[in-house]
Amino acid sequence: MMDDNDMSDHVEKTSLFEAPPMAEQERMVEAILFASAEPVTIKELNDRMPHGCNAAEALTYLRKRYEGRGVRVVKIGEAWAFRTAGDLSFLMQKETVETRKLSRAAIETLAIIAYHQPVTRAEIEEIRGVSVSRGTVDQLLEMEWIRFGRRKMTPGRPVTFVVTSEFLDHFGLESARDLPGLKELRSAGLLDSRPPPSGAELVGQDDDEDQPELFEDDD
């Protein structure tokens, strides 16, 4: 906070352009995040708050304030939202939304996309050893848990899939880096796209001739 006495002269002159005090900015962030069911980005916060506000700073104070409360300030991707504390879920039967039961194939496909993103359909099939049905991908797209990523710079320029911030929000993740067990899987080399021994017929590869090339410049 500024020293008001020192600056009083200055403040008088520029009061029109002076940002509100930080406590006030914190209230504003609180109000905006409370009002929205969707996560709100820092940019959106700053856009909605008066000129000169620092939403990011106000947010750090707000997060601290709500630590241990019944609702919490959570980060979802690049955005922020209030969510009820997980330990109080037992109170919420009334609010519980029946989610469509996902098939085992859909859950596995989702996990593969989350852990391997950006990933092509052929890569998913290589990992699961079966072809991925259109319906499975469509369902995940429809739920807005996955979306199309950039095309791979490999022959055929196949589309890739990545998870969305909606996915992060649903599973209470700040980012895809926070996926459970991600580090362990990576260090175990299980997220590598290890090409099959050259010339070998691939297990699970039924008809994708271009499959071996898919992993050439995978990241």
Partner: protein, 269 residues
């Protein structure tokens, strides 16, 4: 371990529960998501780390599985059979001493890759389970139940420049003063114009005068303008004839058209 031993192992060396499980594998073949899924299930019976699994043993188990499935006359999808063929090939590679002249990957390399695939699939299944076990929105934690909708206030600000204003005013003045000429009608002489000018002139037309004499100044040289003026003047003279103000005559085809004021008509102007 010989193949026979493995077969024995698979058939009899397991507990009742394991045999039931093996049975279930065959009965539920359609429930499997492909050969890799079957291999993963079979590998569990080895009860070792997937990295140390015996691929040879696994290949034998799978081949036995496919045999039994065929014996039960289950329709086996092509990829199960492709896998069987591939595993048979792999098994032979693993059992035979390596041929130094043979190019391509060794049996060990192929086996290692298969082991990797199985381990990776298992890892993804575990990860999926962990993911689904997380607190989920709408089940374990919740967003604001009464979100306050952002009101969108749309304000329209109208704008105009001095030039707009001047153009607007000029437009009105132009309309006022040159109404007949508002459009680009340089070379159009209207019948109304011709009528107006003839009305002022026919008072002085006591004798037969050529129609061409009534053409307005500045409309006689340019052929386009002359044609327009002639047509308009002729149409206007017909109007005047109809009104009983003038008489028209033409001595011959293409001869000059002449007109004069009709006797008895005092309304020249």
């Amino acid at each position: 371990m010989s193949e026979a031993e493995a077969q024995l192992d698979f058939d009899q060396g397991q507990s009742v529960a394991d045999r039931l499980a093996a049975e279930a594998l065959i009965i539920d073949v359609d429930g499997f998501e492909g050969p890799l899924d079957v291999l993963l299930s079979l590998s569990r019976t080895q009860k070792v780390d997937l990295r140390r699994i015996s691929i040879l043993h696994l290949a034998q188990q799978y081949l036995a599985f496919v045999e039994r499935a065929k014996a039960l006359r289950l329709e086996l999808a092509a990829d199960y059979l492709v896998m069987a063929a591939w595993l048979a090939f792999l098994k032979s590679r693993l059992l035979l001493p390596p041929d130094p002249t043979d190019e391509g990957p060794s049996g060990e390399e192929l086996a290692a890759h298969l082991a990797f695939q199985l381990e990776r699939l298992q890892a993804m299944r575990d990860a999926a389970a962990k993911l689904m076990a997380r607190d989920q929105r709408g089940r374990d934690f919740f967003p604001r139940g009464i979100p306050e909708t952002m009101e969108r206030v749309r304000k329209v600000k109208y704008n105009a420049t001095l030039l707009d204003l001047m153009q607007g005013y000029a437009r009105i003045r132009t309309r006022d003063e040159f109404r007949p000429f508002v459009m680009d009608r340089d070379n159009v002489y209207t019948m109304e114009q011709a009528l107006a000018s003839m009305r002022g002139l026919i008072g002085f037309a006591g004798d037969w005068t050529s129609l061409s004499a009534y053409l307005p100044l500045g409309w006689t040289n340019d052929p386009v303008r002359r044609r327009a003026a002639t047509a308009a003047t002729f149409a206007a003279s017909l109007e005047l004839v109809k009104a009983g103000k003038v008489e028209l005559r033409q001595s011959d085809t293409f001869a000059p058209i002449e007109l004069r004021r009709k006797e008895g008509s005092d309304d020249g102007r």
